[in-house]
Symmetry: D2
Subunit: 284 residues, 4 copies
């Protein structure tokens, strides 16, 4: 994996913007491994992502920030620079279903997901065994005993203590309180087991079965206070037919969930996602 800086920009579209940024990069001898642009013609908003080889550029991270700031201010950018060698710290929250948790852990273990996973939190103790194998501390937060409010307070403390950058709800069957959604805005990813906006809420497979759809799916999205309404990062679908039993639908659905979540988390970790209102730009 190349060591890179990633420059992410979101600003009003303006003539001279790309030239300004590219000239800055050229002036510092930056070799660009990947560049993606998008102009939203409806809102006049411009989005840009550069992946820059650190071998090439004659700026440290701090000097880049310092020297780029005037240009950023000039163009009214919301922007960030990330260093690919600084791994984000990811917390996995899960309940009883293991498929998403295990898939994320395995992709992390083999290096496909470039991050640290300092903790796993469960509202049930059963998945501890997987955490143990991967040598990740497991915290059982007992919602039944504590009550929902205290339980989420405990989770919040854990996320703070572990200095978590990204929280992944890997089939975590508890609804985050408003306050936490707001505090962690853009930093919590959920996997919903339907192709939203169809079948929001509970029991999507049952809903899908009853409606007789011919495709089922899963949706990976950022969590907001509006349940199942957050910005969508990725969706995955599979074909079903009358001959698929409830078991078959769950099995196919799980594959969709694993697939959509793995993509969504990777896009986030590689700084490929920009949230814009309630939608995402994903430089996949």
């Amino acid at each position: 994996m190349h060591h890179t800086f990633r420059l992410i920009i979101d600003c009003p579209d303006q003539v001279g913007l790309v030239a300004g940024v590219s000239q800055f990069l050229a002036d510092h001898n930056a070799s660009i491994l990947e560049a993606s642009h998008h102009t939203d013609l409806q809102t006049g908003r411009f989005f840009m992502r550069h992946e820059i080889s650190t071998d090439s550029i004659n700026l440290s991270y701090d000097r880049f920030i310092e020297e780029f700031t005037p240009l950023a201010n000039h163009f009214q950018m919301e922007w960030k620079l990330t260093d690919s060698s600084k791994k984000q710290r990811v917390a996995l929250l899960a309940s009883l279903e293991s498929h998403c948790l295990v898939d994320i852990l395995h992709r992390w273990h083999t290096g496909e997901l470039h991050c640290d996973i300092p903790c796993i939190i469960g509202n049930h103790p059963q998945l501890k065994q997987f955490a143990d194998w991967y040598k990740v501390p497991f915290h059982w937060v007992d919602f039944k005993t504590l009550g929902k409010e205290a339980a989420f307070k405990q989770i919040e403390v854990l996320l703070d203590e572990y200095k978590i950058d990204l929280t992944v709800l890997a089939r975590f069957m508890q609804i985050l309180p408003d306050s936490l959604c707001k505090k962690l805005a853009g930093k919590v990813i959920n996997i919903h087991h339907s192709f939203l906006p169809s079948f929001a809420g509970a029991k999507p497979y049952q809903q899908a079965y009853e409606r007789g759809v011919k495709l089922i799916g899963a949706t990976c999205h950022y969590v907001t206070s509006d349940l199942d309404e957050g910005p969508i990062i990725e969706q995955s679908v599979k074909r079903i037919s009358h001959s698929d039993s409830a078991t078959d639908m769950v099995r196919k659905g799980k594959d969709c969930e694993v697939n959509a979540l793995a993509h969504g988390v990777r896009y986030h970790l590689e700084d490929r996602v920009i949230i814009h209102h309630n939608k995402t730009v994903v430089f996949a």
Copy 2:
């Protein structure tokens, strides 16, 4: 194309049913080209479709009906026998968009869709040119001048006069009145330009754009009085991203529509669809 009888059965699941039917077929020397079964374990309903070579069987269509009736009654079957050489009479209803109409006409012209198309009805005159080329009578029913009630009365008369078996709404932008939905139950197929139940109603692409979904689609379904709620026959989806403009979405959507409608119509014409409550069994 083989000349076949198609035997379609829908009845309570019972031991001895398949044996009874198969024995009947064997007794008359029937060679079976295709056989499909399905048991809905939740409702205990059984569905069966046989495609029987007429070369092999020693029964005429009428004698088959006569001789099979006692068995059918014994097992409380809803059933039908169709003769593949008797083409269904299909009316196409369209408005201004030509893609679905032209696709169906071309598949009919090349023999992929085995039916007669005795008339095309438009609520605008523009698509007459396509009808002319395919030498199909075109009827312009002028909703603006006539008003909706009289216009649909005229359509109803046309469908009766042409002895239409199946009405296909090939992007026909008028909502059928209740009475017509009921009269033609199970005999009107619509193509909706979203992956229902998402984005029912008007302007699905705009809705999809605003929600920021990563897949768009189309749904082919039977028309019922509940708008966009009828039994789904087929769905088709395509991947979209932030970089797809409204034009791109419409283009991709059209391909989904054409695809889902062509499948849905063919399945219906080949007697592959059984409606069961608000769902379908499709022996694709």
Copy 3:
């Protein structure tokens, strides 16, 4: 999961065959959960699979065999009856790549794959850690020290000792000797990392990169003496573009491999695959 008998039949197509089988089943009060037929019109061969609830049928496994044999002989059937509660014994063979191994193990662990996994064999020791977690004995067969012939002899002994029914090559990077292919015909499943017949042999991703294809894939097939030429059970593909690096192609390819292998193994374990010459009938 229902306890079922699965009756798998492969014989010349004949009038009276389905009737004979169905009558036999009805006579013994069999409730059929799933029935699939296929006639190969080119070869005149008939294939049939029944999944029969053991709750319903008034025959033990042994009596079924005994009583069905005359009928089977009459119709010159190749056939088998399996009992869903008798788990097949599966050996997993792997090398260094863990993705297929871990996926199969997890699906087994969660009950999606209904089998026993009494041993894992590696030609490298590295994957032992996964075997340990799942508490499956791991055997390192050291090809380098032993030489290929002795190593495969050792594997053969292990497969015999563990009474293995199905051997799964989960990215096992050694070519089975002819003798073993023949001995285990129809009982060894491999995953090849290309959409065969494209890019058979080594380094399929490099081949795909050089040819500039827009789709990559994976193929799950039975192993025969003709390398990469055995009967295909399942294939899976993903879209790629010029912007996919070698790393991206490997990542996408892995997802295809996992997907195709999981399907192929499940179809085999559920007796859904019938090998016919160099092809398969898969009652998915």
Copy 4:
């Protein structure tokens, strides 16, 4: 549809390249509707496509060429500037199968494909009827009477006379002679009815049937002297099973062909394809 200039660049990757181009565009007030870059890290080659609103830029087409040339030379660019309002002139060549021809014609008719179609050439007279409807001159080149050499000479003359920019082989069942392949390099698109490199050559569906693959497909590629070996623009696949007859495979295959060809032709017409050795960069 916006009126745009499209600037297509292919050159050695160099620091300062993007800055140079962007600064040039900014200096002339260009508003960029779409920008795509790609660096081939293996060959160190850089590819870039800009779609520039002509409303914004203060340069005529000719002045743009003139003023950009020094920069282009400096960076050793192979480049071109196209004007979206200048339609390419497309010749369609077909034989007896109408599906690809009719699909291209319809997409052209509805404005999805932005080009002129001044002539259709057939080696059989049957498809003239479609040409007539769309009011496109049809030329029957009678290969049987003329012999292959004279026939292709006649086609070459037609392509010259009509000043054709792009020749589309819409299931044209004749192999272009070497000389024509070379003369029209990068300007002839073919649709092959398999997912190349599988099943190159004749009768791909029969080959696919015999090999027992579970996916069939189609490949849209540029024509070169090496039959079926030219740079691939787009591929499309569909799932098949044992139950698909030869007719089913042809039907599914046709849908793949129509799909892949429509995409390939559109990408070419919108200057989204850059040929690089025997591969393509497609800024889809």
